[in-house]
Symmetry: C2
């Protein structure tokens, strides 16, 4: 028997957790002896969240999942698949997903498919696609899918350190979703590259080639956009240009790259058909029309011209999605979805009927451009309910600013703790909101133990 | 518009690669000073394949994929998704999948979704489910999916070392497959456990609790079988018992566990309904009817009674799938599919019309029982063509036996090489078959370089 696909599969609900402990980029700039504006304007970042010794990628994931299940009153038995996207490796074999199964023990539900998906910052998108495909597959049993994107992004002392961050996002997946996939419009670009990777297994820090990584990102963006536009035109019978989408949300290692990326898409539109851009832009981009690909990735003048030409549309179509990435930093797999959460927070119900284009990038490299169609939703799964329950403003307000010295000290401690065994943490959860999970100890067999800060509401 | 699922999605083709370098378990037994039969009868293993310094999980994957594409004359542009299941971590961020994209460079095909799936030996099954779901999803674009299960299983000196092994399997996925998923019959069991894990990031070796791991495996088997039977009965309107399936294929860390597992299923059938087993078995299992779960996992007498009672059916329904796992060892993610490849090799076209039940297990823990319905297939994707092109007998015949001393020496060298940079391998590929990829060097930035041994046939 041929069964058919359920309709409007996508995001029913989401919640975000980021550590309340953070450091201001302005203060970090001064502490590092960097020129004024290097981090705040050069990178475009405001603040950076980080895990102290009582938090890690597992505790953040436990917090995000338990919070989502509680807020939406989801019976744990109603979850049929759970997948994690992460590049923060605490164990090379045992998945983060299996740690999260602790939250389902009491319910007796052990029939939950899914493991961890891995490729740099792209793993969350892979997990989300997998969950959506499961709902659309013949093996779907009618229950919800759950996706967790979680990472702690930390860098060795040096120019990359201010691009750190940390967060976990939990996403509930099912049919009739307010945030529905337009599954036929999808362009991927996958290739072998060494732009950012983690070959030093004993260290939490990556090997990064910043310049190469930016070029890889922009090249992948071009390639994905090309495929996306081709598929759109084939199916819709009209060309795609930026005018066809209301918002563009980007994986956000740092805000400056998001600005450059949107400028680049604008330039792509101009190359595809000059009439896609306004007259002033046509004039200002004309000199760069015949650059080769390589020349165009490396031309500072073109970069500036692109950003200038696209500035006004950027403010409308991109700016609303930049809040959390600027305030929290790079969250790796969670970055794109934190940007999307910012858009929901800022635009709320005015998004209904709108199309949002998403660009996911993971070094190494894997990238996909895809799109959502936004609807009102139903039951507890409405756009406005998601925004209310996510409470982005409240979470940003409750943060604890650390001076740069204390941030650096924490990073040093974490270097020793990474991959270590046989230690007890301070157990100090005074900075954490009620209901947050935290690490209490790692025993002599490397087994990790977590506790939960009392919830005031229960 | 509601589109419908394509029919009979499953395995169209597969190929297997294992290193030709191997050591006989009988010789290893003597070398280790173990009692005679400890490895050959106690573990039930005949031989163990391992990577020398010119091979690793990436080279094996490159070999398996290029071989499959060539043998079946698949245009690389016809691949729309590629996923890897592995627990052999060479880089904590960059996926093995991105290394494999090198094989697609010449074709210009970069629009290939998918990354790596991780949870111990289960990652391959997760990748396969993901690929099948993609074909059944609304985002499917009509192209093939490709799944790679690849691992190098190595252990520190001690009792677990003889359970090592290494292999890569490439699986082509699409509709109208000779090996089709019965997607509604599927039981999973997922939980938080520390039976086998890899928390020591700088070492390739796992932390293993052999006894706990075996109990976790058998407990997960019981739980999956229970859910599988419930779903079968609900959909088919009759109870499932072993008689409903022609073959049972198990994840195979070592053959003895496979024997125990089948015995366990037999015991489960007896407990569910004594009439499912024959009269002699009813009598011999009667004394164990009232054991608690824990008691039953730890009773040696029950274990023996189960194996004895199920021996005859084991020889028919399980034995044909044990060849490669006994000859190559534990291949982690590839183990279950190597067992399935053995079944294809041994039974060939007589499998047509048969049902095969598969049990996938990954420590930590994640497990699923699912089933295939076997058909003749069409075009190049027929059962008999798969068997011919896979050439299991030929591959087993062409192996190079190492004396135990040389195996131990290789393990020592590999300990130093794991996670290292800035070295050149011997480049000696004299032991490798034509067309095999091998590692030539790792540069000062940890970048890995591979070459391919000339194919005689081109």
């Amino acid at each position: 028997m041929a069964s058919s696909h359920p309709k409007n599969v996508g995001i029913l609900a989401m919640d975000i957790y980021f550590p309340p402990t953070c450091v201001k980029q302005e203060a970090l700039e001064a502490h590092d002896g960097a020129s004024k504006g290097k981090y705040t304007i050069g990178l475009g970042q405001d603040c950076l969240a980080f895990c102290t010794e009582v938090e890690d990628v597992i505790s953040m994931s436990l917090t995000a999942v338990s919070s989502l299940l509680k807020k939406y009153k989801i019976d744990p038995k109603q979850i049929g698949r759970m997948e994690v996207g992460s590049e923060t490796v605490i164990d090379k074999s045992k998945s983060i997903k299996t740690f999260l199964m602790q939250l389902f023990e009491e319910s007796g539900n052990t029939d939950i498919e899914g493991v961890d998906s891995t490729n740099a910052c792209y793993g969350g998108t892979a997990a989300l696609f997998n969950c959506v495909n499961w709902v659309e597959s013949s093996s779907w049993d009618g229950r919800y899918g759950l996706v967790i994107c979680a990472d702690s992004a930390v860098y060795a002392e040096g120019p990359a350190r201010p691009t750190g961050g940390a967060a976990a996002i939990a996403i509930l997946v099912g049919p009739d979703a307010p945030i529905a996939f337009e599954s036929k419009f999808r362009g991927s670009h996958m290739a072998h590259a060494y732009d950012f990777y983690k070959p030093n297994l004993a260290s939490e820090y990556p090997v990064v080639d910043g310049k190469l990584s930016q070029n890889c990102y922009l090249m992948a963006l071009d390639s994905c956009y090309k495929v996306f536009c081709e598929k759109f035109e084939k199916l819709e019978g009209k060309p795609f240009s930026m005018a066809e989408a209301d918002y563009f949300v980007f994986h956000s290692p740092y805000n400056k790259l998001v600005q450059k990326s949107f400028g680049r898409l604008y330039y792509d539109d101009f190359l595809r058909n000059p009439s896609f851009v306004d007259e002033a832009a046509r004039t200002s981009l004309e000199p760069y029309k015949s650059l080769s690909g390589d020349e165009s990735y490396n031309s500072r003048d073109l970069e500036k011209a692109n950003q200038q030409a696209s500035k006004k549309i950027y403010d409308t179509k991109v700016q609303p999605s930049t809040l959390i990435p600027k305030e929290v930093g790079n969250m790796y797999t969670a970055s794109l979805y934190a940007a999307f959460a910012s858009l929901l927070h800022n635009e709320n119900s005015s998004l209904i009927g709108k199309r949002v284009v998403m660009f996911s990038y993971g070094s190494g490299l894997t990238a996909t451009m895809f799109s959502f169609k936004i609807q009102e939703g139903q039951g507890p799964f409405t756009l406005s309910n998601i925004v209310t329950l996510m409470d982005v403003a409240g979470k940003l307000k409750q943060r604890v600013e650390f001076p740069p010295e204390k941030f650096v000290e924490t990073m040093k401690l974490m270097e020793h703790r990474y991959g270590a065994k046989d230690y007890v943490t301070s157990g100090d959860c005074s900075n954490l909101p009620a209901g947050t999970f935290y690490l209490t100890k790692v025993d002599s067999m490397y087994r990790r133990f977590y506790a939960r800060k009392d919830t005031t509401s229960t």
